[in-house]
C-alpha cells in the first residue's frame, strides 16, 4: 500500500477517534472528571444501532452504499448513547458526594456495568452490521488507495457532526453557556446559567458523538462488547495530546492520533517514504504496537506539556 493509501485509512480511523475524543474532552471539562465509561458508551451506541438496523432493515434506497435504514439506526444509536449517559448522570454521578477521583473510580464501575449488560445480551463474540462489504472505489486504486464508499460515508458523517458541534458551540446560546461553564463553573452559576441543565446537555452531546463513533467503528471493523474499552485509552491519548477541555484540541488530537495509528506500518520503512533519508532506514516497530505508540505519546505529552497542543496554560 502506498503512503496515500495509509493516509486515506488514517483519515477514516481519525474520524472515529475524533468523534470519541470530543465527548470525552467535553465531559472532562464540564463534569470535571476522567470518564472511563466513555469507551463503553460508544459500544452502547453501536449495539443500539445494530438492534435497530436488524429491526427496520434497509428501508429501500441507499446513500454511499449504506441503506437508509442504517442512517436511522445511527440516529437511534446516538439517542441511545445520550439517554444512557443522562440516566447515568442522574442515577449514579449526581447523588455522589465525592471528588473527581471518586467520580473517576465510579465511572469504571459504570463502564463494567454497560459492558456486562451488553455481553449478557449479545454474547462476547464479534458481530457485524448486515450490510454487504463493498469493493474499494475503482478509480482510486491506481493511486494505491483502497477505501470503500462506506469509508467515505464515515468521514462525511463525522465532518457533518463536527461542523454541527462547531456551529452549536460558537453561535448558539447553549454553546456560549457551555463554554462559560467549562471556563469557570462557579462564575457561570452566579451569572444565572442553569449549570445542572448544561451538564445534562454536555452528556447528551458528548455521549451522542461517542455513540456515533461507536456505530462507525462497528461499520469500519466489527462489533464486540470490548470494542469501546479497547479504544478508550487511544481516545484518552487523543484528548491529552489535544489538551483537556479544549474541543478543538480534541479534534486535532484525535486526528493526529488516528493518523499515527494507521501510519505505523510506514515507520519500519521510513527510508522509502521520506526524501533525504537513506533507503533501508526504518524504525523497526510492527503494527501490533500501534496503540502502544499512542500511549507513549500520551505520557510524553503529559510530561512535556500537560496542557496539550491547544490547552490553555495552568488550568
Amino acid at each position: 500500500m502506498t503512503v496515500l493509501g495509509y493516509v486515506a485509512n488514517g483519515l477514516v480511523f481519525s474520524s472515529i477517534i475524533v468523534l470519541g475524543s470530543i465527548g470525552l474532552s467535553l465531559v472532562y471539562s464540564i463534569a470535571d472528571f476522567a470518564n472511563f465509561a466513555h469507551g463503553d458508551t460508544m459500544t452502547v451506541g453501536a449495539y443500539a444501532a445494530l438492534v435497530t438496523f436488524g429491526a427496520v432493515g434497509g428501508l429501500g434506497g441507499a446513500v454511499l452504499g449504506l441503506p437508509y435504514g442504517f442512517f436511522l439506526a445511527l440516529l437511534v444509536g446516538i439517542a441511545a448513547g445520550a439517554v444512557v449517559a443522562v440516566a447515568t448522570e442522574r442515577l449514579i454521578y449526581e447523588p455522589l458526594t465525592t471528588d473527581s477521583i471518586g467520580l473517576l473510580i465510579t465511572s469504571i464501575g459504570v463502564a463494567f456495568v454497560y459492558r456486562a449488560v451488553i455481553q449478557i445480551g449479545f454474547g462476547a463474540d464479534f458481530t457485524r452490521f448486515e450490510i454487504g462489504a463493498l469493493r474499494p472505489i475503482e478509480w482510486l486504486i491506481p493511486y494505491g488507495i483502497r477505501v470503500t464508499r462506506h469509508d467515505v460515508a464515515i468521514v462525511a458523517s463525522a465532518v457533518v457532526l463536527v461542523s454541527g458541534l462547531h456551529v452549536l458551540l460558537q453561535y448558539t446560546d447553549l454553546g456560549r453557556k457551555m463554554r462559560a461553564m467549562a471556563d469557570n463553573p462557579t462564575l457561570a452559576r452566579v451569572s444565572g446559567i442553569r449549570t445542572r441543565r448544561i451538564r445534562y446537555w454536555t452528556w447528551v452531546i458528548g455521549a451522542g458523538l461517542a455513540a456515533a463513533g461507536g456505530v462507525f467503528l462497528g461499520l469500519f471493523n466489527q462489533l464486540s462488547p470490548r470494542m469501546g474499552f479497547n479504544l478508550l485509552l487511544v481516545i484518552f491519548a487523543a484528548v491529552i495530546l489535544g489538551g483537556i477541555g479544549s474541543v478543538y484540541g480534541a479534534m486535532l488530537g484525535g486526528f493526529l492520533i488516528g493518523m499515527i495509528n494507521q501510519l505505523t506500518p510506514l515507520l519500519s520503512r521510513l527510508g522509502e517514504v521520506l526524501p533525504l533519508v537513506p533507503d533501508g532506514f526504518g524504525i523497526p516497530i510492527g503494527i501490533e504496537y500501534a496503540n502502544a505508540i499512542a500511549f507513549v505519546i500520551m505520557v510524553a505529552v503529559l510530561l512535556a506539556r500537560p496542557t496539550g497542543i491547544a490547552g490553555e496554560e495552568a488550568v
Binding site: A34, I108, G109, I120, M298, V299
Partner: protein, 422 residues
C-alpha cells in the same frame, strides 16, 4: 485488649461494621467447612481458593501501600503482577525461551528485580503528574507492557504462554518430596462421602504455606511502616501534598518509595501465582486484574490493611463463586456476570460507603498510646492538644462523615498524643 487475653472485651470494643464483617466471615468459613465435610467442595480446590485469596490479599496490600497510604492512583497493578509472574516463570520453567531450569528462589529474585526496574520506569515519569493523569498514564503504560509480553515471542513465548513450571519448593531438602511421601488420608465425616487427601492436596497445602508466609510477612511490614514516621508522611501527602511539601518533605521521593514498595508486593503476588497456577500467559496481564484489586481495596477501606485482606477474599469469592452458578441451573455466562457484580459493587460502595467497610481507625494508633488514653483522666498540663477540632468523630469508631477518598487519618493520630481528654 488482646483477643486471647480478654475476648469479651475485645468483641465489645468492635465497631458495628467490624462486628458485621466478623459475623459474616465466621458464617462464610463455617459454610466452607460444611461444604468440605459433606464433600461438596474438594479439599484440594479449597486450598487452591485459599491460595488465590491470599494472592489477592497480597495484591491489595500492594495497592494499599500506594493508593491507601499515599493516594497514588496506580492502574498498572496487572503489569506488576504480570512481570512478577513472568520473571519467575521465565527463570524456572523447562519450556522457557531464555533461561529456564533455575531454582524458584532465583525466579523470586528476578521477578522482584524486574518489577523494581519497571516501577522505576513507570514511576519516574508519571509520579509528578496530577492524580487523574497518573491514572490514565499508568493504565496506558500497563497496556504497553501487556503488548510487549504478547508480541515478543523470543522473550515470552507470546500468546502461547509458559508451561512446565515447577512447584515453589523444588530442590529444597524435605519439602520438595513432601507431597509424595505423605500418606494418602481418608477422612469420613459424613458417612458415604469420604474426603480423600492425596498428593495434590499436600502440594496445595504447601502453596498455602508459601502464601501464608508471604501475606503475613507483608502484613507485618506494612502495619509497622504505616505507623512509622515514614507512614505518617505518606498519609500527609495523601491528605494534602502541598502541606507535606511545605513541611519540608521531598514528596516525590516519598511517593516513589511508596510506589516501589507497593509494586514489589504486587510482583511477589505474581511470583506466587506462577507456582500456584503452573502456567502463565499474556491473559494474566489483562487490565481486569487491576480493577479486581481496586475493588478489593475500595471495598475493604482505602488505607486499611485488614480491609485489603477482607476485600481480597470478597473478590475471590466473586471470581470463583460465579463459576458454580451454572451448576445451580442459572443459565448465565459467568464472565459478564462477574463483570456486572464487580461494576455494581464499585457503584454501591462509592455511593453508600465511600470510605470502605473497614476504614483505618484504631489500627493506626500505637498499642502503647491507646492504653495510655484509655483511663481518660484529665491531664492538667495546660497544654492544648494539637488540633482538638473535629477529632472526636473518628476516634470512637463510627465515622460516616468521611469524604470519599480522604479518610482523615490525622484525626486518629491526635488520639495518640495522650493530651486529649477522653
Amino acid at each position: 485488649m488482646s483477643l486471647l487475653g480478654d475476648p469479651v472485651a475485645w468483641v465489645s470494643e468492635l465497631t458495628r461494621p467490624e462486628t458485621w464483617v466478623l459475623t459474616g466471615s465466621l458464617a462464610f468459613v463455617g459454610a466452607l467447612f460444611g461444604a468440605l465435610a459433606v464433600g461438596a467442595l474438594g479439599p484440594t480446590y479449597f486450598l487452591f481458593l485459599v491460595g488465590l485469596a491470599g494472592m489477592y490479599a497480597l495484591l491489595s496490600f500492594g495497592l494499599n501501600a500506594q493508593w491507601g497510604f499515599t493516594g497514588l492512583i496506580n492502574f498498572s497493578v496487572a503489569a506488576f503482577f504480570g512481570v512478577g509472574a513472568y520473571g519467575a516463570a521465565l527463570m524456572t520453567a523447562d519450556a522457557s525461551p531464555i533461561a529456564g531450569g533455575f531454582s524458584p528462589l532465583v525466579g523470586l529474585a528476578v521477578g522482584l528485580l524486574v518489577a523494581l526496574v519497571l516501577a522505576l520506569l513507570i514511576g519516574i515519569p508519571t509520579l509528578r503528574l496530577r492524580a487523574d493523569y497518573l491514572a490514565i498514564a499508568s493504565l496506558g503504560l500497563a497496556e504497553v507492557v501487556r503488548l510487549v509480553v504478547l508480541n515478543e515471542r523470543w522473550l515470552t513465548n507470546g500468546s502461547a504462554g509458559l508451561r512446565g513450571i515447577p512447584s515453589f519448593f523444588v530442590g529444597w531438602p524435605v519439602l520438595s518430596s513432601f507431597p509424595e511421601t505423605m500418606p494418602g488420608l481418608q477422612i469420613t465425616v459424613v458417612p458415604g462421602s469420604p474426603v480423600v487427601l492425596e498428593t495434590p492436596f499436600w502440594e496445595a497445602a504447601l502453596n498455602v504455606v508459601v502464601i501464608a508466609a508471604f501475606t503475613l510477612g507483608t502484613y507485618a511490614v506494612l502495619r509497622r511502616v504505616h505507623r512509622s514516621p515514614w507512614g505518617r508522611v505518606l498519609r500527609t501527602i495523601r491528605s494534602d501534598e502541598d502541606l507535606a511539601r511545605a513541611l519540608g518533605k521531598h514528596t516525590y521521593a516519598f511517593k516513589m518509595q511508596s510506589f516501589v514498595l507497593g509494586s514489589l508486593i504486587m510482583a511477589l503476588a505474581g511470583v506466587f501465582y506462577t507456582h500456584l497456577n503452573l502456567y502463565v500467559g499474556p491473559g494474566d496481564l489483562d487490565p481486569i486484574t487491576t480493577f479486581y484489586v481496586w475493588v478489593a481495596v475500595i471495598l475493604g477501606g482505602s488505607g486499611s490493611n485488614r480491609g485489603a485482606l477482607f476485600g481480597g477474599i470478597v473478590v475471590v469469592t466473586i471470581r470463583e463463586g460465579t463459576r458454580f452458578l451454572n451448576d445451580l441451573a442459572i443459565p448465565v455466562d459467568p464472565a459478564p456476570l462477574r463483570l456486572l457484580l464487580i461494576g455494581v459493587l464499585i457503584l454501591v460502595v462509592m455511593r453508600y460507603r465511600p470510605q470502605g467497610i473497614l476504614p483505618p481507625q484504631r489500627e493506626l494508633i500505637w498499642p502503647a498510646a491507646r492504653r495510655s488514653t484509655e483511663p481518660a483522666t484529665p491531664t492538667e498540663t495546660g497544654v492544648r492538644a494539637r488540633g482538638t477540632s473535629g477529632s472526636t468523630a473518628d476516634a470512637d469508631g463510627e465515622s460516616d462523615g468521611d469524604t470519599a477518598t480522604g479518610v482523615i487519618d490525622d484525626e486518629v493520630e491526635d488520639a495518640t498524643g495522650g493530651e486529649r481528654n477522653g
